[in-house]
């Protein structure tokens, strides 16, 4: 019994050590350009206008991408890197306004306005829709499509002349 317990404990220890060591081992691999670009793509160049950081060709942008590379190498994740950029360079380096304070308006106003527009549309349509008996005969389009369609076509052409 006791041996089993010791053994289990020993295995757990090994596993735990492995889990702790693994990230360090993974860190041994330097971040690839793709890793850097994956983060840089979500940021905008702090200096140039409206240029995403992964495509910006200036020397300053190259420096920032190197900064991302070194932060990735330190083991920082994407959110931490983005937060660092915001702290240093302001919220405009993010490709979307951070969801706080006044910025909530960005996300809330369009759906609200669209909803209002939809309501106006529905109410206008209802006002226009005169209460009327729906004709029993459904439009015979589908049943005799060709003849009826031709008739309508010719009628339209006649109307145009």
């Amino acid at each position: 019994m006791k041996t089993q317990l010791h053994f289990t404990f020993f295995v757990l220890l090994i596993v735990l050590a492995g889990v702790l060591v693994a990230p360090v081992l993974a860190q041994g691999q330097p971040p690839t350009d793709d890793d850097v670009n994956a983060v840089a793509r979500q940021l905008y160049c702090p200096v140039c206008e409206n240029t995403p950081l992964d495509v910006c060709p200036t020397q300053a942008c190259a420096q920032w991408r190197d900064l991302i590379r070194s932060m990735l190498a330190e083991g920082k994740n994407e959110a931490e890197i983005k937060q660092y950029f915001v702290d240093n360079y302001g919220a405009r380096v993010l490709n979307e306004p951070p969801r706080e304070g006044l910025n909530w308006l960005v996300y809330i106003v369009p759906p609200l306005v669209i909803l209002v527009g939809a309501v106006i549309l529905v109410r206008t349509l209802r006002t226009w829709k005169k209460p009327q008996v729906v004709p029993q005969v459904e439009s015979p389009r589908a049943e005799a499509p060709v003849d009826d369609y031709v008739a309508r076509l010719e009628e339209e052409v006649r109307k145009k002349n």
Binding site: P46, V47, T58, Q59, A60, Q63, W64, D66, L67, V86, D87, N88, Y89, G90, A91
Partner: protein, 192 residues
């Protein structure tokens, strides 16, 4: 054409409350755009403006009076020379040596403080730049570009001369051409 109707259609104009909303909306838009346009046209802060207080955090090794951050209000009574620069800014390099020389000249008097605000830069590269030009005056990053926005800088390098009472007296856009140019401005402010 529309079919003839039994009664004439009700001719109503736009309801008053809708009109009010429309005009207020339009006015709001115009005011917003107008103010923004005005801001863009304004350019930098101009001589004569009082500079609001700000805090510049400092790189370690570039402290002032042992503090790792410096407030403008702490410096009242002294002439402040605030220089915006960046390591990726080529024209900044043209004036770096002159600025350091001027600092060396005025530092002993204790009456003038040179501040370097590093604009949108990375610390390792900033340190390389500072070491390259042997710069020793207090330097720190303009976090979140708050200070540069305060001064509405149009680019780097720009240098702002603030007198002993906290009023901006001179703006240098672009690099200085000579040490004398810097000294002339400071001497003027010191003599007051």
């Amino acid at each position: 054409m529309t079919a003839a109707t039994e009664e004439p259609p009700i001719r109503r104009g736009v309801p008053l409350w809708v009109q009010i909303i429309i005009w207020i909306g339009l006015l709001g838009l115009l005011v917003l755009v107008g103010i923004t346009l005005n801001k863009r046209e304004q350019g930098t802060v101009q001589p004569g403006d009082v500079i609001p207080d700000f805090t510049l955090p400092l790189f370690s090794g570039y402290e002032y009076a042992g503090q790792s951050g410096i407030k403008l209000s702490d410096l009242s009574g002294r002439v402040v020379v605030l220089n915006f620069w960046a390591s990726w800014c080529k024209p900044c390099e043209q004036e770096a040596a002159e600025l350091q020389e001027a600092w060396k000249y005025y530092e002993p008097t204790g009456q003038v403080v040179f501040l370097g605000a590093d604009y949108v830069d990375t610390e390792p590269e900033a340190r390389v730049y500072l070491q390259k030009y042997g710069i020793t005056f207090p330097n720190g990053p303009d976090m979140g570009t708050r200070i540069s926005q305060l001064f509405r800088i149009q680019g780097v390098p720009e240098t702002y001369f603030i007198d002993k009472t906290g009023v901006l007296r001179y703006v240098q856009v672009g690099p200085f051409s000579s040490l004398e140019q810097i000294q002339a401005q400071i001497d003027l402010l010191l003599s007051e």
